[in-house]
Symmetry: C2
């Protein structure tokens, strides 16, 4: 439980792996929309503004693979596919909420910091 330098590095790498799960452009949006209710593919497509069909499919496959959501295809015509969070996906969302709160609290500060930085540090390189 204690944090030696080595295990710190290990812990960071493991967090990174999880962050990779949801740190991409769309996963959190998709999971967020599934928080309250099951949604169909088309509903998700409309709900997550700006996502392409391709990215929605890839994102859903990834999340399904990791066990964060379930995919249920109904053998009807026309086809109907429902996506729902698993308990695992729900607990992840709960953990992300902590970060969400941090985000909401400190976002103004960070934006301010950036403005101040940009004002005092002339863009010499790699703007």
């Amino acid at each position: 439980m204690t944090a030696e330098p080595e295990s710190d590095e290990q812990a960071c790498r493991q967090v990174l792996q999880i962050l990779a799960l949801i740190g991409d452009k769309w996963s959190i949006l998709v999971v967020g929309h599934l928080r309250d209710r099951t949604l169909r593919f088309g509903e998700l497509h409309r709900a997550v503004t700006g996502i392409s069909q391709r990215m929605l499919t890839l994102t859903l496959r990834q999340l399904e693979r990791d066990g964060l959501l379930t995919r249920t295809a109904h053998p009807t015509v026309p086809p109907r596919v429902d996506y729902a969070l698993t308990p695992l996906g729900t607990t992840l969302l709960d953990s992300v909420v902590a970060l969400a709160e941090w985000a909401n609290i400190h976002r103004p500060t960070i934006i301010d910091n950036r403005c101040r930085y940009d004002a005092t540090h002339p863009p010499r390189t790699q703007a």
Copy 2:
């Protein structure tokens, strides 16, 4: 405070902005190593295994710009630059810990889920 569909979307987008701060390949590693003590550029370079000099510089600039760490250049020869977390950076790290715990608890499950998925779902497309 209540969560309407619209504000959910907004909240997710805001979390995404923060996740973009630290969801990149290196930021968390750098911040993690600065958790306990101030480090010099070279120390960080050695501590964060695999990072290139370029990426370390860019990551540090970004974190400095957002006010998550401070950069202190000592006018000595040879030059010496110290990096340290700000209080803001420290609080972020605290929030990330929640995610870290989630990661450590559920990582085996996720890995298992993946294996099961890969075993049952033949790689038809876009492997």
